[in-house]
Subunit: 168 residues, 2 copies
Amino acid sequence: MNEPQHELLLDPKSPHIGFLLADASRLMRKRFEHESRDIAMTAAQMKILARVWKMEGTSQARLANALDLEPITLCRHVDRMEAAGLVERRPDPADRRARQLFTTEAGRALLPDMRIRGERVVKAALRGVSEADVQTVIATLNTIIANLGEDGDRACDLAAAAQVTEDA
Amino acid sequence: MNEPQHELLLDPKSPHIGFLLADASRLMRKRFEHESRDIAMTAAQMKILARVWKMEGTSQARLANALDLEPITLCRHVDRMEAAGLVERRPDPADRRARQLFTTEAGRALLPDMRIRGERVVKAALRGVSEADVQTVIATLNTIIANLGEDGDRACDLAAAAQVTEDA
DNA sequence: TTGCGATCATAAGCTCGCTTATAATATTAA
DNA sequence: TTAATATTATAAGCGAGCTTATGATCGCAA
């Protein structure tokens, strides 16, 4: 009698919202990459470049914080973006550990086109979705991000303390 | 006069829904992994294992279709999952190219606990979100997935076929 | 002033998704 | 029957995220 347990584990009628989020996000990313394969920049790089533009001369640590990325993740991005001529690293005159980040003329030149294509993908993704529902989704996603990002440690401790099942 | 253009490129008041999706998805995945670091299985592996359980003996190609993954992506997962003893590959007696997939007793044993922790993460993520809004988000995510998957040519066919290939 | 703990950047190596390519086998057409 | 095509699994290698660790430097405190 396995059938009922199957339903419990992966109910097709109400799929785990985490899986839905992952699938929707993955498909949008995939579509965007396909939509802009002729531009030498990815969506993640666009996001980073736009932020560097707003924080011209910032350090990688502060930028990583602003983008909610781990420093090493950003560092790898900057490696590629610097190699691609999108961004420039200069030594910080006030702190010999740090490097200042600057956009390149070439990098800035690509941003508007990227944004246009991104909007095209969003429009395709949201076809048939009402404006009200879009707003609900945006608000809910922001709530989720706040819930999970606010204080990871505390919430995790609470949850972890809840249950430890020892099968013996 | 850069300020107005900055707003256009990355408006903090209405951030690109694609970025929100990616962030929410990433944070949920991160939280889940933290929540279940003592279990030798990831969320993606859980999803795959549950599906193998429903399609015991299926081929990797059909499983990849059912999960909407590229065959090579699934192949890599199965590599790791087989090494971890979660899943088993056997030669298909009817097709010498194919391998049949089966869950392991050890793999099945981990699923219920994984599901419980997944639900805990979802509950934490959705704190303060009304049930109605959750339903709206689920419906919208399904629309997005359909919108972006259908145009990819025949994702609908694949999804439909996946449901049918169940046992008889 | 020294010395010790934070902070900055980054190395190593992992999962997870992808594209592109290839060997083996199956299947279909000629 | 044989030749062309399709399918199955997998290799190689990239992007995007992560954890953990390490060398340099900064800053504070004894």
